[in-house]
Amino acid sequence: MSTGAPLLDVRHLVQEFEVRAQGGVRSGVVQAVSDVSFTLAKGETLGLVGETGSGKSTLARAILQAPRPKAGEVLFEGTDLVNLRGRELLRARRQMQMVFQDPFGSLDPKWSVTRIVEEPLIAFRTAARAERRRQVAEVLDRVGLDPERYGDRRPRQLSGGQAQRVAIARALALDPALIIYDEAVSSLDVLIRAQVLNLLERLRSELSLTYLFIAHDLALVKQVSDRVAVMYLGKLVELGPAESLYREPLHPYTVALLASIPNPDPAAPRAPVAKTIQGEPPSPIDPPSGCRFRTRCPRAQEICATQEPPLRRLGEGHFAACHFPVSRDSPAPAAREPARLAGGTHDAARAD
């Protein structure tokens, strides 16, 4: 799966926005992304989950430098994008494409499908017209749209699934290394969504693409991801291999997210969600002190309000930011600097 240096290395990324109340008075700073670090290996799919306002989309945009992050580094193939300007940044961006949730909102309604997919090729002056047209036909074919039949259509003549295929074709046109999907299949109907998900998987293996797959649906994310990152209120709270994160979630927030998924099996036992999470997320303008999840957490103790839990390694490639992780025992919260655990070998004190 991974070989050598990561394709993308995000270090201590911070994104903040000032919000002004009426009359231009500065009323606060939205801490949209706070000190987020992760890497993405070539050919890997990292799933990014979290609820509205958790900062997932802001994180994706900060990676693309649109807008630039407030602090931190974004190393793409070893080059820090934060320091790139003008033409160099454009060249790097060519390698990174994004597909959004609403295909109709991201496709120009007046343009034909061919023109939409050709546009990035024109913008980057890749080839002469005939060659570009050949490339457009090839990429449309790749996403399962017959260029003869769909090339001249306008977005309104397409179904939601077809329009999303056009958006994917546009992202593929420049032969990128990384594609960020921001809730790209969330608004599609179940059967069409399955078709598009299978398409994404096929493209990834055919073109050895690297994906950052953002969604709020955990089951959906598991379907496509090698590793999964969970965000809450601007913070990365858990990161781990998909299998172990779902089998053994460590952060109480991940547990709550998993408990919230409606199980399509009426015979399966179903614990009420109210036991795993309370209330609604607080405002990112004034996030809670210490652990940002503590106000909704059923396991919160005093220390959670005073000390922010660092993201620490609790299993093979499995990290969580919690003083009292769920499946494994945590060290006594007395020490100022929480010890870095080499593995989750403590099984004593706290029984679950």
Partner: protein, 327 residues
């Protein structure tokens, strides 16, 4: 008072569109008892929302409704608007997908709930305000008293949906229709709202129709499930029976296309090809034929009727799935 709350039989809804007739609901039949929860499941364009709006009498004038909707022993089809207005709210209330668009952004929450109360009963401002507070507490809105004075934009999506439910409950309806009421919400909020709805439904003895695209929600919360495709009910059964013995290949396809937590990463999903049919081209036969793995010539020529093949289990298919066999 009969046991049955709602009886829909052979309901058809046609829309006139560019001189063509689009049949959005095609011969829908189902009934529900008082206090029951029925999930109507289908994709976009399956007719689930249109059929619900027909129960509410909320269809535009371009729609022609035929068939019968008997609610509480009163025929709703062809009911004059004045009688219909009484029926809405007291009889049936509806909660929609997008609470932001359903609430008036310029009115305080309290005033909007009071309006709903005073539309249906004579109540002084004070009495209506007290009842509004009761309703907000009933839907477990935190800090209910302060919320009465707030505007919708000051609330989160989940809180707004709780306000919408409070408004829907203002006249103590016998039936609540939740039309994708949790679709736009976050997963944890969705689960909280669904639990609230089930709790209210049991406490108040209301009937509940959940309209959704999500079979997972139906499995967790409904007593009975109606699966719709291209305007028709294609399978109907008590929830446990349906999920244990899926008969209609379309229901099977829907279930198989849901990503499950148990699935291994990167395992391909079972995805049927194609798209739902164009409802303006009324072709004979079963509408699922072009996408169906078990379709034959018989399916192309004759549409199967929804019939009770096993006790309480109805399906419309010539070649139903067998137990344990995936389509």
């Amino acid at each position: 008072m009969s046991e049955s709350l709602l009886e829909i039989s052979d309901l058809r809804v046609d829309f006139r569109q560019d001189r063509r007739l689009v049949r959005a609901v095609d011969g829908l039949t189902y009934s529900m008892r008082r206090g029951q929860t029925v999930a109507v499941i289908g994709e976009s364009g399956s007719g689930k929302t249109v059929s619900a709006r027909a129960i509410m009498g909320l269809l535009p004038p371009t729609a022609t409704v035929t068939g019968s909707i008997r609610f509480d022993d009163v025929e709703m089809v062809g009911l004059p608007e004045k009688a219909m207005r009484k029926h809405r709210g007291c009889g049936v209330a509806m909660v929609f997908q997008d609470p932001t668009r359903s609430l008036n952004p310029t009115m305080r929450v309290g005033a909007q709930i009071r309006e709903a109360i005073q539309t249906h009963e004579k109540a002084s401002r004070g009495a209506a305000q007290d009842r509004a507070l009761e309703l907000l507490e009933l839907v477990r809105l935190p800090a209910a008293r302060e919320r009465l004075e707030q505007y919708p934009h000051q609330l989160s999506g989940g809180m707004r949906q709780r306000v919408m439910i409070a408004i829907a409950l203002a006249a103590s309806p016998k039936l609540l229709i939740a039309d994708e009421a949790t679709t736009a919400l976050d997963v944890t909020t969705q689960a909280q709202i669904m639990e609230l709805l089930r709790d209210l439904q049991q406490r108040l003895g209301m009937g509940l129709i959940m309209i959704s695209h999500d079979l997972g929600l139906a499995a967790s919360f409904a007593d009975e499930v109606v699966v719709m495709y291209a305007g028709r009910a294609v399978e109907r059964a008590p929830t446990r029976m349906l999920f244990a013995h899926v008969r209609m290949p379309y229901t099977r396809a829907l279930l198989d296309a849901i990503p499950r937590l148990q699935n291994v990463s990167h395992a391909p999903l079972a995805a049927v090809p194609g798209q739902p049919p164009n409802l303006a081209l009324r072709e004979p036969g079963c509408p699922f034929t072009p996408r169906c793995p078990s379709a034959t010539d018989q399916c192309r020529e004759h549409a199967p009727a929804l019939e009770e093949h096993e006790p309480e289990h109805l399906w419309a298919c010539w070649h139903p799935c067998e137990d344990g066999v995936r389509a």
